[in-house]
């Protein structure tokens, strides 16, 4: 749904049903009922605030921001959802750090090798907030959405909720029972390489080196919305 506030346009609210919504409506059994809504700020460029200050920047955002057409694809309609938080004085959102075996010094690339002892990696994601003593209780992640390339890796001791058409597996994992001193959540899981054939290496390997496959995984905190992306480099 797009929301337009333009003095020269008659369109105020542009709403369409998503594909999922059409499926529910097509049941025609009276079960279709809108029970909640979500807001997002996908179009907003907050660097305008940094560039022009709060007053002028806000005005520029309000007047100059183009609004997306309403999307029927649910996954694209709202990418950056707004969250409701009770604390009006909250000024800092939490972030996530990754630690574990096989990570490079910057913590952005995970190395794994097929057919060796490094074919599985224990990873730990820790929630923290910079400049604060405590993570707000409403931002403490209870569940994490983990997206991994299903062709190459899986999470030990878990089954994916579903696998999309691009072979990205979606896992929903609960946080570990322990928390940090600041109350931040901790998530630990073991990423395990699947059996990768030579054909897969030849198809998915990098153009310069067909013995290396590069992929991307991500972990999203369901409460805080914090996202941690990391690269996976798989050697033959």
């Amino acid at each position: 749904m797009g929301f337009l506030d333009h003095s020269t346009s008659n369109i105020i609210v542009d709403a369409v049903l998503t594909d999922i919504g059409r499926q529910f409506l097509a049941r025609n059994d009276g079960s279709f009922s809108i029970v909640k809504f979500a807001l997002a700020d996908d179009e907003i460029d907050y660097t305008m605030i940094q560039k022009y200050g709060r007053i002028v920047g806000k005005e520029k955002i309000e007047k100059n921001t183009p609004i997306f057409e309403a999307q029927t694809i649910a996954g694209l309609a709202l990418k950056y959802r707004c969250v409701s938080i009770s604390n009006p004085n909250l000024t800092k959102m939490s972030s996530m750090t990754i630690t574990g075996e096989g990570l490079d010094s910057s913590g952005t690339t995970l190395s794994m090798t097929a057919s060796s002892t490094t074919s599985s990696r224990l990873l730990t994601f820790t929630q923290s907030v910079v400049g604060e003593n405590l993570v707000d209780v409403e931002l403490r992640d209870q569940q994490f959405l983990v997206k991994v390339p299903n062709n190459f890796v899986q999470i030990a001791g878990a089954a994916p909720d579903y696998v999309d058409v691009d072979n990205v597996a979606y896992y929903t994992l609960l946080r570990s029972p322990t928390t940090t001193a600041a109350g931040g959540s901790v998530l630990s899981f073991t990423l395990v390489l699947k059996s990768i054939t030579d054909t897969q290496f030849s198809v998915f390997g990098t153009s310069s080196d067909k013995t290396i496959i590069k992929a991307v995984a991500s972990v999203t905190g369901m409460q805080s919305g914090a996202v941690k992306d990391f690269n996976i480099t798989i050697s033959k």
Binding site: N89, D161, T179
Partner: protein, 573 residues
């Protein structure tokens, strides 16, 4: 009979206009674990238009009183200088009795507990007359015995005080406070009595009301000491009795030719008396505020404490005086404080239940092969949610059963719970848990889940949205169905379902006889304290049950009386 004679001085006094507190209220900002044992923090800077909103948002709790300032002449000093002058000379404030004479005492009384007392009085009257029922029944019965000239609605108005008995009313309490009882609570009487007869006067004062009597009893010990000391002093009337010795805040050279005076209002001094839950009582000077301030906010508030506020207006009196040591005529400034304003009482507690949890959802954990119920914190500015409860039922025709209660209450003082939770259903956790894995779920079964939350006061929310879950073996996935929107009350989980909430009557036809069976699941029901709830009435107590049969074709009806004989008791007897 022995009689004593004492000399007494002429009583004189200076009348200074006093301010009036028109309203007082407690505002709960947000929860802090030590709120019941520690006073709230004081904001770092003065409240201004620019930062007041931020400071109020940062304030966890506060009491605010509205003030009607005096209309007296104002000082020519700026408000900042006037406040500063009073603060610097806070130990040099003289009351009107200090200036007016040296042999009299002022006794101020206010019946702030008139509501509670009237409420208890009515309950006792109902008990002695053996009137039972709710407060409406009691008020109606008692009202019959009152003459027509008495406003009987006052009895019903007192019903709002049922809050003290554990029930909460949705009546706007301000309506009652501003009514006749409110006027009675805010009425203040001030009496000046000679020291030598102070105790005798107090003891012989006709008891106009129990409240006035209690107020006088509070000062009885003080008055007794004053009278004792006064009678031991010199019984001769001396010119010294008419000399007032003061410590002025400023002294300037004066003239013996003119003896004039000038009085102007400087500032208001706010006092606070507190009654803590642990029985500790203390009084302190809270703040000095500008004389034109129309409100005052007290941030140093402890949750659950009863506070009483009153105000004195401080005046500066410029007059001529004679120095004690040299006898020189000078012009002095003396600080006088008015009689206390009316006292306003504020109980720092809140009774707002939390909203139900949001975003309830159920997914299937393919590894554990069990459903996982998840939810999130509802937007709750009070931030006082301390328990989550997960409920489950097999269908809408069955009641919800508590599966687990997550207890993450970090409050230093635990609340009184209004529910009885089995200890086996309670799970203490360090940090909030927003998920529940139903280990008892069978793939062949269907279950409806709902979540509720409990705040730091023990107040419970309504149910969240209700989701029905069943496992679709053919598609190998969990099927969920939205059963009910959120906010259904605890006693009525089906209130938002389409259809009748209650079955009004049994509809049938072609019947000639009715067989009624008395088949209760329990013969005796007791509450959490073990008291018999007396839900069953028998012949012994005159109870009868009625069946109303309506013939809709002929528009005729028949009422059949039924009674139950308690054979168990008869046999036991």
């Amino acid at each position: 009979m022995k009689a004593s004679t004492f000399t007494s001085n002429v009583l004189s006094r200076i009348s200074l206009e006093k301010p009036v507190i028109t309203e007082g209220k407690f505002t709960y900002g947000y929860f802090t674990p030590d709120e019941a044992v520690t006073e709230g923090p004081v904001p770092g800077t003065q409240l201004t238009r620019e930062n007041s909103r931020t400071q109020l948002l940062l304030s966890p709790r506060r009491n605010t009183i509205a003030i009607m300032p005096t209309s007296s002449k104002r000082t020519s000093l700026s408000s900042e200088k006037a406040v500063s002058l009073v603060k610097e000379n806070i130990n040099k404030l003289y009351s009107s009795e200090d200036i007016g004479n040296t042999g009299a005492t002022t006794i101020a009384s206010q019946d702030t507990n008139v509501l509670d007392r009237a409420y208890q009085l009515i309950l006792r009257a109902a008990e002695s007359r053996e009137i039972e029922g709710n407060f409406t029944d009691i008020a109606a019965d008692l009202g019959l015995s009152l003459p027509d000239s008495v406003d009987k609605s006052l009895l019903q108005e007192l019903g709002v005080r049922y809050a003290s008995a554990g029930a909460q009313f949705a009546v706007d309490r301000n309506r009652i406070e501003s009514g006749k009882f409110g006027q009675a609570r805010s009425f203040t009487s001030t009496t000046v009595v000679a020291d030598k007869f102070a105790l005798d006067i107090v003891l012989n004062t006709p008891q106009a009301s129990p409240g006035a009597s209690e107020a006088l009893q509070e000062v009885r010990n003080d008055v007794a000491a004053v009278q004792s000391i006064a009678r031991q002093e010199n019984q001769q009337i001396s010119s010294n009795d008419y000399i007032t010795v003061v410590d002025p805040v400023s002294v300037k050279a004066g003239s013996a030719k003119t003896f004039d005076y000038d009085i102007s209002a400087l500032a208001n001094v706010v006092y606070r008396k507190e009654h803590r839950a642990n029985g500790i009582t203390s009084t302190k000077l809270l703040s000095v505020i500008p004389v034109d301030s129309q409100n005052f906010t007290d941030f140093q508030v402890m949750y659950g404490t009863q506070y009483h506020y009153w105000i004195h207006t401080v005046y500066v009196m410029r007059t001529s005086a004679i120095t004690a040591n040299t006898g020189q005529v000078v012009t002095v400034d003396i600080l006088l404080q008015s009689e206390p304003s009316n006292t306003i009482s504020i109980h720092s507690s809140e009774t707002v239940p939390p909203p139900p949890p949001a975003d309830i959802a159920i997914r299937w954990d393919y590894y554990e092969r069990k459903p996982v119920v998840t939810w999130s914190f509802p937007p709750n500015p009070q931030r006082d949610i301390k328990y989550f409860q997960v409920f489950k039922r097999a269908s809408v025709n069955e009641p919800f059963e508590l599966q687990v209660e997550y207890d993450f209450n970090d409050s230093l003082v635990k609340p009184k719970r209004y529910e009885s939770i089995e200890p086996t259903n309670t799970k203490p956790v360090d940090t909030p848990v927003l998920s529940f894995v139903d280990a008892n779920f069978k793939k062949e079964s269907t279950a409806i889940y709902a979540v509720a939350c409990v705040d730091a006061r023990g107040l419970v929310s309504n149910y969240s949205a209700q989701i029905e879950a069943s496992f679709d073996k053919i598609r190998n996935r969990l099927s969920t169905k939205y059963v009910s929107p959120g906010n259904a009350p605890r006693p009525y989980p089906n209130v938002f379902l389409r259809g009748d909430l209650f079955l009004d009557s049994i509809v049938t036809k072609n019947k000639r006889r009715i067989k009624a069976y008395f088949d209760p699941e329990y013969l005796k029901l007791v509450d959490r304290f073990g008291n018999d709830m007396k839900l069953f009435g028998t012949v012994d107590d005159g109870t009868s049950y009625k069946i109303s049969v309506i013939d809709t074709d002929r528009a005729e009806d028949l009422v059949v009386d039924m009674s139950i004989t308690d054979l168990l008791r008869t046999k036991a007897d």
